[in-house]
């Protein structure tokens, strides 16, 4: 992280320090059994999601998850159909499996987009302060005035429902959260002595911001990013449930719940399994995120 004065700092020292930091972090994380469970579940689900992402024609593990079979509609869970079938006789197990990559994909993509824009915004506001800070933070306040999924809802109402639009809408809704956290951390880091020292050495602003401030505020960014994926997944499922997100017949879990709610009296399993999967994925992200926070950012509490 620091290569300011190679003559004074032995080349091995920073590498060692970084390794030590990581070892320290991993030791803390490993003590947190719940966080490890979350991590393992996520790794497993990630590999499962690859199967779904491989084939756009709804083929997964040799089964077409979109194949309708009206003679077998609304069947309960059985040896043949593990999660039962829906109103069109589609196998819910394979649809849930297939939907995994959409849920994870939208969650990661929305979070990544929000971080990609929100982090630089927060860095600029925190580093330069003054009118730039005021303007940026007032703009973020405007976005924050729309609570929860309301902003995403408003954006999707204009753009129309699609997987991409939902992702963008959720990312915009998350901008202020990233900008605020990064700005706060930047403000405290900027005032540290070593930043003054680097500036005195004649480093340019861009170098100070991206080489010296950013690496030092990575912890809150990583923690926030992990926890936000959970929120993004819940928002995306919610919008799809309202019919404003990912559109059928794509086996997105929220959209599947929307399909299933018309058959609650005949076939309760349709609404059970996709929802249960959302809970598992979100829970895994929350467990892992909580663990990351304890290991990386012990001062932060929530």
């Amino acid at each position: 992280m620091s290569n300011i004065q190679p003559s004074q700092v032995p080349a091995t020292k920073p590498a060692n320090r970084r390794l030590d930091n990581f070892k320290d972090f991993y030791k803390k994380l490993r003590k947190n059994k719940a966080a490890l469970v979350g991590l393992y579940v996520l790794v497993f689900l990630f590999f499962v999601s690859i199967f779904g992402a491989l084939d756009a024609n709804y083929n997964i593990l040799g089964v077409n998850s979109n194949a309708t079979n009206l003679t077998d509609k609304l069947l309960g869970p059985s040896a043949q159909y593990w999660f039962g079938t829906d109103h069109l006789g589609r196998d819910i197990f394979y649809r849930v499996l297939h939907g995994m990559y959409i849920t994870l994909g939208v969650g990661f993509a929305a979070t990544f987009m929000a971080a990609l824009v929100g982090v630089p915004i927060g860095l600029l506001a925190g580093y330069y302060g003054g009118w730039l800070d005021t303007v940026i933070m007032r703009l973020m306040d405007v976005l924050l005035a729309f609570p929860g999924i309301l902003l995403a809802l408003a954006i999707v109402s204009v753009l129309g429902g699609s997987t991409f639009n939902v992702t963008v809408a959720i990312a915009i809704g998350a901008l202020p959260q990233f900008a605020r956290i990064v700005r706060g951390s930047t403000l405290t880091t900027r005032k540290l002595e070593y930043i003054d020292a680097i500036r005195a050495l004649g480093a340019r602003d861009g170098k100070i911001i991206f080489q010296h401030i950013l690496p030092n505020i990575m912890s809150p960014i990583i923690v926030n990013t992990t926890l936000f994926v959970a929120t993004a997944i819940l928002s995306a499922a919610g919008l799809s449930f309202l019919g404003l997100g990912v559109q059928p017949p794509t086996p997105e879990w929220g959209a599947m719940l929307n399909d299933g709610r018309n058959y609650m009296y005949q076939a309760a399993h349709i609404t059970f399994f996709p929802g249960m999967m959302i809970v598992i994925v979100v829970l895994a992200f929350n467990l892992f995120g909580d663990g990351l926070r304890d290991a990386l950012d012990p001062k932060a509490k929530k």
């Binding site: 007032r138 703009l139 306040d141 405007v142 976005l143 005035a145 729309f146 609570p147 929860g148 999924i149 309301l150 809802l153 408003a154 999707v156 109402s157 204009v158 753009l159 959970a230 819940l234 499922a237 919610g238 449930f241 309202l242 019919g243 404003l244 929220g254 719940l257 299933g260 709610r261 609650m264 009296y265 309760a268 609404t271 059970f272 929802g275 959302i278 809970v279 979100v282 829970l283 929350n286 467990l287 909580d290 509490k301 929530k302």
Partner: protein, 306 residues
């Protein structure tokens, strides 16, 4: 204090202006003619022209915005494309229900959140603590619309204790309130626990105990009072997410509140109603946050004086 309130009120002005700009531009950011979007692609030319004329869509954009702002300030949000009834009437008919639902969910989540948080903190690392925090984590991780569907499945379809739809009677209200309030209860419980743990380890609590103050009094009078300060901010933010979250809850339970009005209007491309309803929720949320900020300041001040 007065100075603080005045400053916060002034800060409100750019935010509220920004909110109106954003809501106004909803209709204009979309590619294509808003009138065509509202009327539908296959609508006859005359219908499109009529909508354009009624909404003044051919005027310069800034003129349209100032008209929108001026009207909104007088609670005039135009009239619905669907039925020509003023948007304000649509909103006022529905807002009371959403507010009722949100306030009840608020009471539910504050009660259970505080109770679970305090017990967890007092019995730190015991079975009760772990169990309650696991439940809280589940509450956080559950999509509220799915919780609603499951509650309907169990308590309205299987056991028929409550009604699956509607709002107004006790049988109808219980499930939506639990649905909307659970995530909030979980967040408040986690916040209360960590805030209480911060306070409980402090010297003045040990002093109080050493003086022989009863344990219950120490917890409720000394610890909780100070632990509540950060919790109050969370409670304020929660109220906003209840207003927004009611969109999903109202959809699940077919409650005719503001949230359902927004969804129906989006699906029918009734933009004036969407704009009005979203604007109202945002403004209410901004005002609630202001009140929370001032309360926080008042409470914090008292702590400073001590």
């Amino acid at each position: 204090m007065t100075k603080f309130i005045i400053r916060r009120l002034f800060q409100l002005i750019p935010v509220l202006l920004g909110v109106t700009v954003l809501v106004f531009s909803l209709m204009h950011l979309t590619p294509g003619n808003p009138a065509v979007i509202m009327a539908g692609e296959s609508a006859p030319e005359a219908t499109v022209k009529a909508i354009e004329a009624r909404l003044g869509l051919n005027d310069p954009l800034y003129e349209q915005y100032f008209r929108f702002l001026g009207n909104a300030a007088q609670l005039d949000f135009g009239s619905s494309i669907r039925d020509n009834i003023p948007v304000f009437n649509h909103i006022s008919a529905r807002f009371a229900i959403t507010l009722e639902l949100s306030v009840m969910a608020m009471i539910f989540s504050v009660f259970w959140g505080l109770l679970a948080g305090i017990i967890s903190a007092v019995r730190r690392y015991t079975f009760e603590d772990v169990a309650m925090m696991v439940v809280a984590l589940f509450g956080l991780s559950m999509p509220n619309f799915w919780l609603g569907l499951m509650l309907i499945q169990w308590f309205a379809i299987e056991f028929q204790i409550f009604k699956p739809t509607g709002w107004g009677s006790l049988e109808q209200n219980v499930l939506p309130v639990i649905t909307l309030g659970t995530a909030g209860a979980a967040i408040i419980a986690r916040m209360t626990r960590s805030s209480m743990l911060d306070v409980i380890d402090q010297d003045y609590i040990r002093t109080a105990r050493a003086k022989g103050v009863k344990e219950g009094t120490v917890i409720l009078r000394h610890a909780l009072k100070n632990a509540m300060i950060p919790v109050i901010t969370v409670i304020g933010i929660q109220f906003g997410s209840f207003l927004a979250g009611s969109v999903l809850t109202e959809s699940v339970f077919a409650i005719n509140g503001l949230g359902r009005l927004i969804i129906d209007s989006i699906l029918q491309r009734d933009f004036p109603v969407v704009q009005g309803a979203i604007l109202v929720i945002a403004v209410v949320f901004v005002i609630v946050n202001l009140v929370v900020d001032i309360t926080y300041r008042l409470l914090n001040k008292r702590v400073d004086l001590n």
